[in-house]
Amino acid sequence: MEGISNLSGAQKDELMDQVKQQIAVANAQELLTKMTEKCFKKCISKPGTSLDSSEQKCVAMCMDRFMDSWNLVSKAYSMRIQRERTNM
């Protein structure tokens, strides 16, 4: 860790950008993994020899609903945190 306090302004900005980017990538990966897992479970009850069109449609819809759900949960959680803060 030696030298981390001697970074120039530009180096620091670069480091912060990298951290942000890595977090964003990790988040996207997490979302992708969860989505695949959940939508496979919901849409493919009996795996056949190929993905038929109804399964594909179900997966597409499931992805959208999964994002809806994620955003809703995020909103509910933020609101709760805010409520807890004002009650403190």
Partner: protein, 97 residues
């Protein structure tokens, strides 16, 4: 589940290693955001299982209500258990253990 509603240990951890204040504050903020995100992933994980049936064209209002109730009730349970558990610990400590 880890109920991290805000974590202050991180900043003191870093204090010794990173002298740079701006960098330190940045990392604390990013860590908090990451924890918040991880928590949403976790909530969404089991509230999805509890509330969402077959995916359709949109989330119906019943599902939406279920999802936000699910988050709130989970936090309620988490707080309730935390408090009661602390009481249990206190009682057993007071009982001469």
């Amino acid at each position: 589940m880890s109920s991290d509603f805000g974590d202050s240990s991180f900043s003191s951890d870093l204090g010794g290693k990173v002298g740079d204040k701006e960098l330190q504050e940045f990392l604390v903020a990013e860590k908090q955001k990451a924890q918040f995100n991880a928590q949403i992933h976790e909530f969404n994980d089991f509230c999805w299982e509890k509330c969402v049936d077959k995916p359709s064209n949109k989330l119906d209002s019943r599902t939406e209500t279920c999802l936000s109730n699910c988050v709130d009730r989970f936090i309620d349970v988490s707080l309730l258990i935390t408090n009661r558990f602390a009481q249990l610990l206190q009682k057993s400590a007071g009982g001469g253990l």
